[in-house]
Symmetry: C2
Subunit: 191 residues, 2 copies
DNA sequence: ACCTGAACACCGTTCAAGT
DNA sequence: ACCTGAACACCGTTCAAGT
């Protein structure tokens, strides 16, 4: 089993090492930190090395995005297992996922990114669609009609996206707020 | 009364001309289009000219942001005049403002921007806070208690921010959706 | 197969010199 | 007061040459 860290084993790099370091930079310092000169310094090689692995900087970006997309999909499929839980609980879990985003930096950067990269845009859409559907279906199961479920699920997902961008004029919502929110979204039956 | 266009009158530029052109570029082609070499080409001068008016590119950015902020504040104060309208109508107007953003490009760019520029962040906060308060107060006027009003107003504002960023996995909301939404947010009394 | 080193284009920044 | 022109640093990109 090959190691991905350049520190262990061979001194040569694989494309993987660049992607990994790039994703790490994206999460800690944001999109602006991904410079190939910076990556070279971090990885201890010269620029020529980079251009052996990638055709240009956009290609690296694409690879980083792809890796993030894969991980996000895995996370979503893990979330799929919540289908056994009661509907209100499912809604609550989706709400929490929207808020306590651990890698907030990535989410923001990828949204900027999605403007220019259709692959990234596709995975973001997939994620939003997934969450929307879980909430929507849970609401239908609770007895809401199609239109009511659509409106409420849409509102929740959009609000979730907004959380990631809000300038906390309004305080960042807490876990309690999420509970209240679920109570409101599915309130007619929850109370 | 001095003209701001370099085409009329003198051939010399004022700082204003750079800001105006920069804001135009921001709206039409996004943040990435603001290069000082590009601006020089558009305005028909050399880079030295730019550096007579501004200390660096960040300073231009700041000036562009400031101008946008001024315009946004004016727009908000115009919106203040809706205070005479019935509460539900006020909520509906705020909802519409959040959606039919004509200069969507600017809003997105400025949010990126706000991460690094606290002035821009401040005006974004102001805007969000303003809309939040209008909705909140309208809800209180409709008979909601403090906590219910806070939750609902917050949800609406965050959803509005989310609209600007959603990858339309879910369809962009229409004016009718906004009406339905208002019916939901203030539903207990509206129906 | 993976990397160095030197080259080049492009962009931000500076500054002496021009009107 | 406003601008030119030439210079320099920095970054992305290319490529011949090395192991």
């Amino acid at each position: 089993m090959p190691k991905s860290s350049p520190a262990t084993g061979s001194t040569r790099l694989r494309a993987d090492d660049w992607v990994e370091r790039g994703l790490a930079l994206l999460m800690t310092e944001g999109l602006g930190a991904i410079k190939i000169s910076r990556l070279c310094r971090d990885l201890g090689v010269t620029k020529g090395s980079f251009y052996w692995h990638f055709s240009d900087v956009d290609s690296l970006m694409g690879a980083i995005a792809e890796r993030w997309c894969t991980r996000t999909r895995e996370e979503l499929s893990r979330l799929h297992k919540v289908q056994g839980l009661p509907p209100l609980e499912r809604i609550r879990l989706m709400g929490l996922r929207l808020v306590d985003e651990p890698s907030e930096h990535v989410e923001r950067a990828l949204r900027e990114w999605a403007v220019h990269d259709s692959d990234v845009a596709a995975v973001l859409r997939e994620t939003e669609q997934f969450i929307f559907e879980v909430v929507h279906d849970a609401l239908v199961e609770l007895g809401y009609d199609e239109e009511a479920a659509r409106l409420r699920a849409g509102l929740l997902v959009y609000a979730g996206i907004g959380f990631a961008y809000g300038q906390q004029a309004l305080p960042k919502p807490t876990a309690k707020d999420i509970n209240d929110l679920v109570g409101f979204i599915a309130g007619d039956v929850a109370r």
